[in-house]
């Protein structure tokens, strides 16, 4: 279900609320009666995208289920900052699991409810990208293949943040983390390696479960519509929410939403939904920007712009964005063919004469091979 487009009202689809709109057409977050499922006093850092994302998702789910909702929560920032014993910020029945078994615990909760004959209480499992993509991955895949009646939400901030910003399977190429430190130009590694990591939403889709969707904290209407759609369905559902982390990314706390907006506008993070393994909707790019605009706001990419600039890595990241744009058809029709950096990569110095990699242009294929040689080799 696509979010409703709001036309002709000063602020349209993008703002949280709008005094000119019928209260029924405003977002859940615009309502004073929203449940504030994650309430004030939590210890997340200033500008935490995950705290914001969790409230967005759970408030929407609470509304969709009339408050009949329980949650299992993997270890991670979200659990640590919300629930230091004996305090809790959660305003719903909430169970802390181990780091790696939140999907299985959620499955158990759903099974218990079924055994007790309760069918109107819905279950959410949630965790960060480390708990979901790495440590809890087997449990998650099991939950998917059994089609357990759980909505699993991954809040993706692209590294293990509460243990000190270590690389996860969701850390993007080129990014600095505690264990992907750039070694300096020519030393063979510029932050996280190209060609590694995994795409959890696509893997979830491969399970052909009822619903898979991605969202960011910058597109609230879209996010709420996706939660609502997920709660209309039964069976295994997966929602992957992009949540910037000011601390781990070295970004200004005020830029959290801006970064989430830019990651979608660059094409680096495609926002889409799929049902039964097939893509049903894609959020188009509204004001396309080159990846540099996104990268430069984050110190985890600062080494790419220090002298001498790692242009090849920046171009490589742009190539990822360009590929997403093609693969997910992210451009609105009129913007086709926009002239942007990265689309015309200087072919000089790149290996030639090899066939393109499937789904990539020749230039991108050459660039990928080159990056794999120079950067991958250092691992």
């Amino acid at each position: 279900m696509a979010a409703k487009e709001i036309k002709l009202y000063q602020t349209g689809t993008f703002a949280v609320g709008n005094r000119l709109l019928d209260p029924e057409d405003r977002t859940v977050q615009a309502r004073t009666e929203r449940s504030n499922t994650l309430t004030s006093g939590h210890r997340a850092c200033q500008g935490c995208g995950e705290a914001l994302g969790a409230r967005y998702v759970l408030d929407a789910a609470m509304r969709a289920t009339d408050g009949r909702l329980v949650a299992a929560n993997a270890t991670g920032c979200l659990e640590v900052f919300s629930t230091p014993y004996p305090e809790s910020s959660w305003q719903l029945p909430w169970l802390h699991s181990l780091f790696g078994n939140a999907p299985a615990v959620a499955t158990g909760m759903a099974a218990a409810l079924r055994a007790k004959g309760i069918d109107d209480v819905r279950v959410i499992g949630q965790g960060g990208d480390g708990g979901t993509l790495d440590i809890g991955f087997a449990c998650l895949s099991g939950m998917f293949e059994r089609n357990d009646d759980v909505l699993y939400v991954c809040y993706d901030n692209e590294a293990y943040m509460n243990t000190g910003v270590q690389r996860s399977g969701a850390t993007p190429p080129g990014a600095r983390t505690a264990n992907t430190k750039p070694l300096g130009a020519g030393a063979g590694r510029d932050g996280n390696t190209f060609g590694q990591g995994k795409n959890a939403p696509l893997i979830a889709m491969a399970h052909e479960i009822p619903y898979v969707a991605t969202a960011t904290v910058a597109d609230l209407r879209d996010l709420e519509a996706k939660v609502e759609r997920a709660m209309e369905l039964r069976g295994a559902r997966y929602l992957h929410v992009f949540v910037p982390c000011p601390l781990g990314w070295g970004a200004a706390s005020r830029d959290t939403i801006r970064l989430a907006r830019l990651v979608k506008e660059t094409g680096l993070f495609p926002v889409f939904a799929a049902e039964q393994g097939e893509i049903t909707e894609v959020l188009k790019i509204r004001r396309r920007v080159p990846v540099e605009e996104y990268l430069r706001l984050q110190r985890r990419y600062a080494h790419l712009f220090a002298e001498p600039e790692s242009r090849d890595v920046i171009d490589g990241i742009q190539a990822i964005a360009d590929r997403n744009i093609r693969r997910f058809d992210l451009l609105a029709d009129i913007e086709e063919g926009a002239d942007l950096p990265g689309e015309a990569i200087d072919a000089a110095g790149l290996p030639e004469g090899q066939p393109p990699i499937a789904g990539r242009t020749e230039e991108e294929s050459n660039l990928m091979r080159m990056l794999a040689e120079t950067h991958h080799g250092a691992q």
Binding site: K7, Q10, T11, N18, R254
Partner: protein
Amino acid sequence: MDKPFAITLDVGSSLANKTGSWRTERAVYVDRLPPCQGHCPAGEDVRGWLYDAEDGEEGYERAWRRLVADNPFPAIMGRVCYHPCESACNRKDLDEAVGINSVERFLGDEAIARGWSLDPPATASGKRVLVVGAGPSGLSAAYHLARLGHAVVIHDAGPMVGGMMRFGIPRYRLPREVLDAEVERILDLGVELELNSKITDCEEAMEAGGFDAAFLAIGAGVGRNAYVPAGESAKILDAVSLLHSMEGEQPPMLGRRVVVYGGGNTAMDAARTAKRLGAAEAIVVYRRDRDRMPAHEFEVEEAEEEGVMMRWLSTIKRADEGEIEVERMELDESGFPQPTGEVERLGADSVVLALGQESDLGLVEGVAGIEVEDGVVRVGADLMTGRPGIFAGGDMIPAERTVTVAIGHGKRAARHVDAWLRASVWEEPPEREAAGYEQLNTWYYADAPRSHRAKLEIARRAGTFDEVVHGLDAGNALLEARRCLSCGSCFSCDNCFGVCPDNAVLKLPETGELNPHYRIDLDFCKGCGICVAECPCGAIEMVAEEV
């Protein structure tokens, strides 16, 4: 212990943890000065009345009342104002400026159509004020003075009210029914109007009428003459008289080919009027080039659309019967035109001089303390002349000569006169920080192209004085109002309330007024600044906490 199995401790809420103590900066709601208001010569609260108009049907009257608090002539403004508000509008950097002027006209026309009347004056002050001149400045001053409770009498030398709005602006730009309707509303407040009563000595008139103060706004109604060597039978007249004669008198016979000399808005009006009076050719002769022409771009465009021809870089050397001599000019390095000696002959049945206007300052001659310099009266910042109690404004003081500037003078003068009558001083409100484009987060505004006003077909303009520019209808006027970005002031979009990761923005009940219905909960605000970054209109700022 009445607890479930294995539970020994109540759940404590994190609300006990006041994270506000982390903060080094706090978010504060501000109200910055939007560029439209900052650039309005009449000081209209443009953003404020657009906000009211955004509500549609139920907001139009509120919008109109907020508008007329500053300027009693919205329907006139919506036709003749050169809208510096739109030139300054921040939206021009996003797509195209908000059509403020067209919404203003819509509200003005609504008020006339629905017969809305002005709020009655405050309690009578017992003071009497003489206003000399029933043009935009005098009427504006009379209106504001009347609302402040003073008894006002306007004297005008002319046979009809309106000044330059009637005798300078042609009806195809300002239909007279509109002018009459908005003037009538002011007179309904109890303002007395005496026409055909030229004041020749203002001190004497004040004493005779028992006035406590006077506001002079006689305008600049005398066409400036330039010496053009002319043969006996050459027909030369000035633009001011030409436009004046369009009101009731017999319009002059101009002939087939009319040359207008000058490059200002009056020249355009004269040339367009000549076309409408039946001239086959109307040619504007101007000594500099188009870029240096004082006329407004859209006036030149409309004139050209109607077939008015332009002859840049030319002066008239001599006029004879049916023919003139024109000399080609060249701009020197400082942009000043210099003669070249190249002379050409041009057919012309009449020549209309539009070379600027002057004031007839007879009424202040001999008044002690009043100084005249360069043909205009000197006034202080409070618009008072050197003679205490006599104020002046409009075209007769040094300022840009537009209707809106004149109206602004009238408003300011009224405030100062009022203060002076109460033996006090009116202070201009302190200047507010300007709301710049860089403070906006334009992501949140809907993509909304501007609605332009339709114009009368060119073929139908030639022979008639029908209004050229049409108004917006209710539908697109509403859309146009809603294109306002509300620069620098909260318009209740709920973004701050929604985007705070700490639920530290509280939402208060809406009052319908333009001010924030939100409050920062300092118990929990960590000072991240997301609300500031994501506020579309720049109505929140971060302020360092005092340590």
